[in-house]
Every structure is written in C-alpha cells, then in structure tokens.
Symmetry: C2
Subunit: 204 residues, 2 copies
C-alpha cells in the first residue's frame, strides 16, 4: 500500500530565513522527509562537503545536466549555477518519501510548472503582516523610505499569490510548527489518498 | 484587519461517529469555532433544549424557511425535516468566526454547491483503510458478506471524492487532532490570507 511521496517546496523572498527554517526542520524528528541537496558550480568552501552542502560540479557538467533535462530548476547568480537535480527528487518521491526543496522564488515557479502536485509554501517576512502599523505608528521614516518599503511589500504579496500557503517567519519554532502542520494535513487531502483507497478495493 | 470566518463541514457515512467527534471538538479549547445548531421538525426529547440540541420548529415553519431560501441544506428523514439555517452561519462567518457543520453526506453536497470556499472533511470508518487485510486474513466471511462489504466500501470511496480531506475515525482523539491540524493549516492558505495582506498595503 505504498503511495508516492509529497514534494514540499519552501520558498520566499531573499533574506526571509528559508535556510534557517529548513535546518530547524531537518533537526526535528516528528516529521519524516528528505532534503534535496542542490547542485552548484561555485567553489567548495572550507568545511563544506560534496553531496551534503551541495553537489559541486564544473560549469560544463552543470550545462550538460541542463541540456539533458536533468535539472528540475536552476538559475545563475553571480556567474555560478545553482539548481535542483531532478533524479534524486523523483527517486525519493517514487519510493514514497516526502522531499523538501528550499529554493528561491524563481526556482519555485519553475518547479511548480513541472510538479503542480507539490505543496508550495511561501515564507513571509515578519514585518509584512505588521507593515501598516509600523508605517503609521513610527512616523520617523521619510516618504522615500516608506515608498520603497511599500514597493517591496507589493512585490512580496505578488509572489505569495503563486503559492498554496503563507507562513510568517516570526519565530523559527512557530514557522516550523506551522509547516509541519501543513505537511500533516496535506497528507490527508483526498486527491493524495483516494488512489490508496481505490487500490484497497481493487479499483486501480 | 478582520477576515471572514471559515466554514468547516464535517461529514461522512452514517454510523461513522461524526457526532462524537464533533462533541469532542467542542470540548477542546485549543481551536475557536462555533457550532451551527441544526433545525428540525421532530419532537423535542426529554433533556433536549431548543437552540442547543436543535432549533425545534413545526412542519409549516420549516417549509416556510425552505421557501424563503433560509436553509443552507436540508433533508427529510422518516417524516421529519432536518437542516441548517443559513442566517446563523452567514452571521458568524461575516463576524470572522469559524463555523462547524456536522451533517450527512447529502447535506454536505448541498452546502458545497453554495459555499465552495468551505473546508470539506470526510470522516472514514476505521475499517475502510484495512478492508483488504480484513477480508483476506479472516477468511471466515461468505462470499455474500464480502460482496456487501465491498459494495459499501466502494460507495464510501465515491462519497469521499467530493471532499477536501479524509480523516480516519480510528480513535476520537486522533481524529480530533487531525481535524484541528486541518483547520490550522487551512487558515494559512494563500487564497484565505492574501486579501488581508493586500488590505495592509491599501490595494483592496
């Protein structure tokens, strides 16, 4: 009675604390899932390990992967490629294991195109929900600063609309708890379980 | 920054224990919601209270409500009407309170037509997930009993496909915990929160 694993995509604006939340989730044992290690062409830093922090590859190797359709998503930042190899994700999902990706918003949208069944979680900065209060109560910012902050907030809300869930990263344990709750509930969604039930009665 | 409340519809095959689960949920304080009291034309039994167990109405009163579009859903069982008055549900939702309905599957489908934004939870009997194991391992049932059980299981799976979530009612506290998790997670869904964010930046 094995079902396919669930793809969980954790994303959000840069600087929101995606990596910290992801690490906190990996250290918790109450939910079982695997983390998909990214691939990059940047140099390995002291203390980093190939296959743990990243799969470290040459430019040529990475571009071969792209050509061969081996990347679920990728992007180039400051002359280096970063991306998610498709193979590992598929293998784990087929084996019934949930897979967590922690990626930038552009990458998340690439993944959503290819894997619409995944669970897409947008981590929001803690100041987004309290934005208006902060702006109106502080009164110390000049018009330019306020405009800039409003622009940023608008962008983040636009991004959010492409996701299934919005989780405020106010405190790491709060955010982790909410994400775990989302994962548990998503496993109860009828489209995810009905095939299992149909299999039981031999209707598959 | 008030948002509309969420409609939660708890349903499932008769005898699955909907009422017990609903009562267990009402006795817990960790989640705040109101329970929508049903309306009926059957006679009040000793110990029952009007407006608590049911709104007790005459046949004429109930049929007037139907005519005036005042019922969110209703059905007739054994010469008596049972149904959910629309007014209370709408008032609570508008005030930002979550409302729980515990109703039969036919009623749930009537509600889904009118309120597609609700969260529809199907409570499954504990023997549905283990059906095949029970059938193949016991070996004591005659063919007719097995056929009947398979028919019943098929019906239940068909019903389930109209819901958002399937929760096994194996033990009451387990089912309650899962339903609470679903409610919490549903409150984080982007379509439910994005208007609130847009309001913050004055885009509503």
């Amino acid at each position: 009675m094995s079902a396919k694993g669930m793809l969980i995509v954790l994303s959000g604006p840069s600087g929101v604390g995606k990596g910290t939340v992801r690490k906190a989730m990996l250290n918790k044992s109450s939910i079982r899932f695997d983390y998909s290690v990214s691939m990059t062409t940047r140099e390995m830093r002291p203390g980093e390990e190939d296959g743990v922090d990243y799969y470290f590859r040459t430019n040529e190797q990475f571009e071969d992967e792209i050509k061969n359709g081996g990347m679920l998503e990728y992007a180039k930042y400051v002359d280096h490629y970063y991306g998610t190899p498709l193979k590992y994700v598929n293998e784990k999902l087929e084996a019934g294991t949930d897979v967590l990706l922690e990626i930038e918003v552009n990458g998340a949208m690439q993944v959503r195109e290819k894997m619409p069944d995944g669970v897409y979680i947008f981590l929001t900065p803690p100041d987004l929900p309290s934005l208006r209060r902060r702006i109106t109560h502080r009164g110390t910012d000049d018009a330019k600063t306020i405009d800039k902050r409003m622009e940023q907030a608008k962008k983040e809300i636009e991004m959010m609309s492409n996701y299934d869930y919005a989780v405020v990263n106010d405190k790491i344990p709060n955010a982790v708890k909410k994400i775990e709750g989302i994962i548990r509930s998503e496993h109860l969604r009828v489209p995810r379980v009905i095939d299992k039930y149909k299999k039981i009665i031999g209707e598959d």
